[in-house]
C-alpha cells in the first residue's frame, strides 16, 4: 500500500511540475518518464530476478524501430503499430532468454552487452529496413480521441499516465506469487527449485517482462521524438538504465523512477561546471555507488525502518548492522 502511495506522489509531483517549468525542462521530464518506464522494466530482470542485463537498450530499440518501421513504411497508426512492436520484442526476449539466461553474473552481463552491440551493428547496416546511421525520421505522433499529443506538456501527461499504469502493474506483480518467485530465484536458485519454482521459466518471464516494458518505452520514445537512429539505443544507454536502477535503489519501483529522473537531470545540472561536466558526472556516480550502495530507496528505508515492508527486511537488517 505504501508503495502505491509513493508511486502516486511521484506521478502527481510530475503532473504538478508540468504546469510550472520551462519547455526545455518539460522535454527533460518526458525523457525521464520514458527512461523510468524502461528502468521499471529492468527492475523485473535485475531488481527482482537478479539477472544483470547490459542489453536493455536493444529491447528499447526493437520496440522503437518496430513502431518506426510500421508507421513510416506500412503507414500503420502508431497505436496499432505499438502492439506488434511490443509483442515482437517480448517474443525476441523469450527466444534469447532461454539459451542466454543459463549464464550468471558477469558472463550474462557480457553476453547481453554483446547482444546490444550486435543490435547496433545490424541497425546501422541494414539500410533498407532501418535507414542505417541516418535513422528513420518523420515518425507520426500519437492522437488521442481526436486530440494531438504533440506538445511537450500534453505528451508528458500521457507519459505520466502510462508510467502510472505500468508502475501499478509492476507493484501488483511484485506482490504476486510470480514476483515472490522471481525474488526467491534471485536469492537462492537451489532453494527456489526445491520449493517447486520453475527457475528457468521464472527467469525467462522476468526477462520477457523487462523487454516488454523496454519496448513500450521505445514506442513512447519514437512517438515523442519522431526520429530513431542506432545511437539512441547503443550499449551506453543500457549501462545508463542499469545505473539509474542502482542509484534509485534496485528492487523498488519508486527507486527506478527517482533514479531515472535523477540521472536524466544530473548531467544537465552539472552543465554549469562547463566543458568538463561529464568528468564530474562520472566522479559523482562513483561517489554515489561508494556512499549509497543501496541507492536512494535504500537510504530512505534506513531512515524509516519501522515501516519496512516484509520483503525488504533483509536489506533493512543489513543497513542496521552496518550502521
Amino acid at each position: 500500500m505504501r508503495s502505491v502511495l509513493v508511486l502516486s506522489a511521484l506521478i502527481l509531483a510530475g503532473f504538478a511540475l508540468s504546469f510550472a517549468v520551462s519547455e526545455y525542462t518539460l522535454r527533460l521530464l518526458n525523457m525521464a518518464v520514458i527512461a523510468a518506464v524502461a528502468v521499471i522494466g529492468l527492475n523485473f530482470a535485475f531488481g527482482y530476478a537478479g539477472l544483470i542485463s547490459l542489453g536493455h537498450s536493444a529491447f528499447v530499440g526493437l520496440g522503437a524501430y518496430g513502431l518506426a518501421i510500421l508507421t513510416t513504411k506500412a503507414d500503420w497508426s502508431p497505436w496499432l503499430a505499438a502492439i506488434p512492436a511490443v509483442a515482437g520484442t517480448g517474443l525476441a526476449a523469450a527466444a534469447l532468454g532461454y539459451p542466454l539466461l543459463r549464464l550468471k553474473g558477469h558472463y550474462l552481463a557480457l553476453a547481453t552487452l554483446g547482444l546490444n552491440v550486435s543490435f547496433s551493428i545490424v541497425a546501422s547496416n541494414w539500410i533498407e529496413l532501418t535507414g542505417g546511421t541516418n535513422g528513420i525520421a518523420q515518425i507520426p505522433g500519437l492522437t488521442l480521441a481526436g486530440y494531438k499529443l504533440d506538445g511537450e506538456q500534453t505528451f508528458l501527461w500521457f507519459g505520466l499516465a502510462v508510467l502510472a499504469l505500468l508502475g501499478l502493474a509492476a507493484l501488483a506483480i511484485h506482490a504476486s506469487r510470480l514476483g515472490r518467485a522471481m525474488m526467491a530465484v534471485r536469492d537462492d536458485e537451489t532453494a527456489a527449485a526445491m520449493t517447486g519454482i520453475d527457475v528457468t521459466g521464472v527467469s525467462v518471464t522476468a526477462f520477457v517482462l523487462s523487454a516488454i516494458y523496454a519496448a513500450i518505452a521505445g514506442c513512447l520514445f519514437a512517438a515523442h521524438v519522431h526520429f530513431v537512429s542506432p545511437d539512441d539505443f547503443n550499449y551506453a544507454h543500457s549501462i545508463t538504465f542499469l545505473s539509474m536502477l542502482i542509484v534509485g535503489g534496485e528492487g523498488s519501483v519508486a527507486g527506478a523512477i527517482v533514479g531515472a529522473a535523477l540521472l536524466t537531470f544530473l548531467p544537465e545540472w552539472l552543465r554549469v561546471l562547463g566543458e568538463g561536466y561529464l568528468a564530474f558526472f562520472g566522479l559523482m556516480m562513483l561517489a554515489i555507488l561508494v556512499f549509497l550502495p543501496t541507492g536512494i530507496a535504500g537510504l530512505l528505508r534506513r531512515w524509516r525502518r519501522p515501516a519496512l515492508p516484509p520483503q525488504d527486511t533483509a536489506a533493512g537488517l543489513d543497513g542496521a548492522v552496518s550502521r
Binding site: 544483470i52 549464464l103 553476453a111 552491440v117 547496416n125 542499469l242 566543458e275 568538463g276 568528468a279 555507488l289
Partner: protein, 291 residues
C-alpha cells in the same frame, strides 16, 4: 597470396594489441575479482600518455616511451587507491557501473586535456616497409607482434619464475590465506593494478601509430578485449592471447573477405556462441594460469 600475407600481418598486429588489453583485464580480474569496464580507457590513456610525452613535450623516443609508461604506472596506483579500495568489495553490478562511471570521467578528462582533434603518434619504425613474397607489410606491424610475444614471455617468467609473481598468484588464489602466510596482500594488489595499467599503456603506444589517437578509442577496444576474454576463457592468460589474436584476425580478414560493415559481428557473434556452447572458453579457468 600477397593480399593474404598483408591481411594476416595486420590482423595479428591488431590482435596483439587486443591480447595485451585482454591480459590487463584478465590479471586484474583474477587477482581482485574486479570486472574492469574501464579497461578500454586504460589503453586510450596509454596512447595519450604517448601523445603527451612524444608529441606535445617532444621528448626523444626511448625517453618518451619510458615517461609514458611511468605515467601509466602512476595512473594504475591512483586507480587502485581511488576506485579499487572503496569499490572492490561491492557486488559485481556496482563494480561494472563504477568502472564505467570512472571510464566516462577518464574519457572526458582526456577530451578536456587533448581536445577532440585526433593525433598521430609516431612509431620508432615510421614509414619502413618490408617485402615478403610480393606483399608489402609495415615494419611497425611486425614489431608489434614481436614485442607482444616478448612481453608475453616476460609475463610468463614474472608469474612463474619470480617470488613476486608467485606471491601475486597466491593472492589471486586465496587472499586470506596469502595474508596469513605473511604476504603483503595490499601491496601485491596495488602492483597488479600497476602492471595492468602498464600493459594497457604498451598496447596504447603500439596502437597509436596504427589508428589515430582519439579520445573515443577506448570503448571499441574494451568491447574487443571482452570478446577476446570470453572466447579464450575468462581468467586465462593463454586464453586472452588466443582470443585477442582471433578477434584481431576476424576483424581484418572479415572486413576484406566478408563485409566491412558487419566485420565486428563476427567477433561478437563468436563471443555469444562461446557463451552459449562453451562458457569456459577455449582454455577454461585453470587456477595455475591465473596471475
Amino acid at each position: 597470396m600477397a593480399d593474404l600475407i598483408q591481411l594476416l600481418t595486420n590482423g595479428l598486429a591488431l590482435g596483439s594489441v587486443y591480447a595485451l588489453a585482454a591480459i590487463g583485464f584478465v590479471i586484474v580480474y583474477s587477482a581482485t575479482g574486479v570486472v574492469n569496464f574501464a579497461a578500454g580507457q586504460f589503453v586510450m590513456l596509454g596512447t595519450f600518455a604517448g601523445v603527451a610525452t612524444l608529441v606535445n613535450a617532444g621528448w626523444p623516443l626511448p625517453v618518451g616511451y619510458a615517461g609514458a609508461l611511468a605515467l601509466m604506472a602512476l595512473f594504475g596506483l591512483l586507480f587502485y587507491a581511488v576506485v579499487y579500495l572503496p569499490l572492490g568489495r561491492s557486488p559485481v553490478v556496482t563494480i561494472i557501473i563504477g568502472t564505467v562511471a570512472i571510464g566516462i570521467t577518464l574519457q572526458n578528462a582526456a577530451l578536456l586535456t587533448f581536445g577532440s582533434w585526433p593525433f598521430r603518434l609516431p612509431s620508432p619504425v615510421e614509414g619502413m616497409m618490408l617485402e615478403v613474397a610480393g606483399a608489402v607489410i609495415p615494419v611497425h606491424a611486425v614489431a608489434v607482434v614481436v614485442a607482444t610475444a616478448v612481453l608475453i614471455g616476460l609475463m610468463w617468467l614474472l608469474l612463474n619464475r619470480t617470488a613476486l609473481g608467485i606471491a601475486m598468484r597466491a593472492v589471486a588464489q586465496d587472499a586470506k590465506t596469502a595474508r596469513l602466510m605473511g604476504l603483503r596482500v595490499n601491496a601485491l594488489l596495488a602492483f597488479t593494478w600497476v602492471l595492468a595499467a602498464v600493459l594497457a599503456g604498451i598496447a596504447g603506444l603500439m596502437l597509436g601509430p596504427m589508428w589515430f589517437a582519439d579520445v573515443n578509442m577506448g570503448d571499441p577496444i574494451a568491447l574487443k578485449a571482452f570478446a577476446a576474454t570470453i572466447i579464450g576463457g575468462f581468467g586465462s592468460l593463454p586464453g586472452a592471447i588466443a582470443g585477442g589474436l582471433f578477434v584481431g584476425l576476424a576483424e581484418v580478414l572479415g572486413a576484406s573477405y566478408v563485409s566491412s560493415a558487419y566485420k565486428d559481428l563476427i567477433a561478437f557473434g563468436a563471443m555469444i556462441l562461446f557463451l552459449l556452447l562453451r562458457p569456459q572458453g577455449v582454455f577454461g579457468e585453470r587456477i595455475q594460469d591465473r596471475g
